[in-house]
Symmetry: C3
Subunit: 310 residues, 3 copies
């Protein structure tokens, strides 16, 4: 990413402690290219991530296609935004391989029975502010590495690159839902998916809503698993799609607003792909669950017809 900073419209700053920070959307103007690099970084480069056209009720927009042959590691151990970085006034959600070094969260890595050590760390921060030295120091310390060996990338929720990397979480969202249901995600061999990229629809909270909707109403996934017994798997697969949630059916922002912008009041079962196909290598059967919802997507993305006659 740093090698292609100009092409990607990414700004690069070195802090006094040696931490290198790549800005993909705070002051810089990163786009689709920068967003795809952020997504690769979040997935520890263990995924193939490409732009792909997606049609929503006759309107074609760019989306992302994600394929990973290491879903438990790339999605859960790395991409999942489970590190709440706080340092003084600085706050950001952290994702990427440096989470493994800091074991954020410990419960997850214990469940995955996964650990890995490294002298260098890479973390993506979803934030509208660049981290200062104090934040970088704190992150490096949690990772047990020298601040000069830390690389950070940053993009706000309401930036183009920031929205791209959220849609690239389409495969991860399915794993995360399964994980919270108690499923052993290490039995998932391959993950594939695609989701449209939300446009910038407003300030951070609105963009967060639209990018969630990209997955909740537009995300399509395909997993291969090795699981036994089959009946148990069937129960899990039925439970994955977003439409199993009581909060399914309206744009996320609307639901969030009705909950008084309190995350804990939202039914977390809604954070899931719209559609899921699971090919089980044990039973050699293939289950299909969920459905796309282009109508809610169109409402969430705020498409306005602007034809001359219109």
């Amino acid at each position: 990413m740093l090698d292609y900073a100009d092409e990607l419209r990414v700004g690069v700053v070195e802090l006094d402690n040696g931490t290198v920070v790549a800005d993909a959307g705070v002051e810089a103007k990163g786009g689709l290219g920068a967003g795809i690099y952020l997504a690769r970084l979040c997935m520890a480069d263990l995924a193939d991530i490409q732009p792909t056209p997606i049609e929503i009720d006759g309107i074609t927009i760019p989306g992302v296609q994600v394929a990973t042959d290491h879903p438990a590691i790339s999605c859960m151990a790395s991409q999942c935004a489970m590190w709440q970085v706080k340092a003084g006034n600085y706050f950001a959600m952290g994702s990427g391989p440096a989470r493994i070094l800091a074991r954020k969260t410990k419960e997850l890595y214990d469940a995955l029975e996964f650990e890995e050590y490294s002298d260098v760390g890479v973390l993506f921060l979803e934030s509208d502010t660049l981290p200062d030295e104090a934040a970088a120091d704190k992150i490096a310390e949690a990772c047990g590495i020298d601040p000069a060996d830390l690389r950070l990338a940053v993009a706000p929720t309401d930036s183009v690159a920031g929205l791209v990397q959220v849609s690239a979480r389409v495969v991860e969202t399915g794993l995360h839902k399964l994980f919270t249901l108690g499923f052993d995600v290490r039995t998932i061999r391959n993950g594939w998916g695609r989701a449209p990229i939300a446009p910038v629809v407003g300030k951070a909270t609105r963009c967060m809503g639209a990018s969630n909707d990209a997955i909740i109403y537009g995300g399509e996934t395909y997993y291969t698993v090795e699981y036994e017994p089959f009946d148990e798997l069937l129960g899990y697969v039925k439970a994955i799609p977003s439409d199993t949630s009581r909060d399914y059916g309206a744009p996320f922002y609307k639901t969030f607003k009705e909950c008084g912008f309190d995350f804990f009041k939202v039914d977390h079962h809604v954070f899931a792909p719209a559609k899921v196909v699971v090919n089980d290598l044990r039973s050699r059967r293939t289950l299909v669950a969920g459905r796309l919802n282009p109508q809610v997507l169109k409402e969430s993305f705020g498409f306005e017809v602007a034809n001359r006659e219109g």
Copy 2:
């Protein structure tokens, strides 16, 4: 491109003045791969260009997907075929980064407030003839570089590679339309699009028609802009799609023929993508204009059903 000449079926000739000429379709038999390299070259390698399936009324053919985070530079300053190269009997339309050195056209670069200097130059020539030394000398002179530092690539309008690189102009066509309407294209942050690749349907003029139709009736685009005021933007977006033209509705070749093959009699507003989506980062609104027209595409591409029963 030169490194992969054999794989791409591109011929390479060095002229006596040192100019290296890559032939992608005059005597050589370049295909989809060569065409995509031509397109990358035309866009100064500031775009991600990939083959992508496109369905036209139940018939799937290859198309191109283009994404650029430098639309004003890659499309207008580089890809736009605004250099009419003439040297003795040699004539070709020139596109690519060497246009910047020769400031073809000056008005454009003044409007973009863009200039860049280089000791080396790369130009794509749409032509059915390879350039001779005299043509190369003239191009190098206009660029202010040594002929030995000039690289040329050539493909005819009615070659496979030539048709690929036209469809890769889908994002550029929208910028060009906006530019001619007086819009400041530097406010365009990102461009994305796809268009089908026209088959070889006849000699050069017919192929030119079909490849224009690929964009006019099959081109889909998505732009992010930062523009104010919104009402002005709305007016521009309404004016982009090809269907705003009085010459919309028939294959381009037919219109061109009715105009006595006189370009100046064709309504230039027809040179535009079929469909456009614009996400404005200021107002945070998203406008959708235009429509696809698979029926005209099928007529233009000349699909003939050849089923056994048919």
Copy 3:
């Protein structure tokens, strides 16, 4: 492929005779990535092969998109599985560039008037067993190379990577059908296609059936040819699609079973893409033949709806 063995979940073994064997699915757990590498290897790296979403009656699953500008070489001389490797108890179907060295089969290379020599050889073996030294020795001997200069890759028919590389034969299948009809495949300039990737639906024979169906009922192809006379070409194009076969209409496994699992009783005309578009550069006409059949695909792939209400 060997450089990325860990990322691709491919196992690497060196036999005592120096032959290096890459295991993509026997004991190893290669996925989509490994399958795409196998496909590239089979096509002698003369093709662009990418994952691509494919929709089957509202269900989106991963597929492969294949583009080659050397179809006669990449598909027929290399990818086509025409080498029955037998060594003691070891049996596998061999494909890839090492076939050229061993001239498997001689008739094919005579017809293509193609020969090429190399000190190194690469072969893909579709098999559920890793080859031993005796098998590797025999392959190397047939290629006229040192066993230490031989690289083998292996995947079973009922593995994820194995199923990917079958779907990547979509372009080859059209060439092979034309070849068996007596068509001179050297007149084919470019080949492009896409096909869904079959899920693991059962043991080897069932998976073989489903992966054949991916092409027979879901394969879409596009070829550019230079052929004369046109009427003859028209006859060939009409004959390409799978629906010209008397055995068209049921999942392949069903047909195969009804034939008592005897390959010679199956009508070989069924081994063809579902749909074909041919752009002829001589007549400059474009022929379209065949049809997709999502219903048979759904039956063959065994999709089971697992909605909560369902």
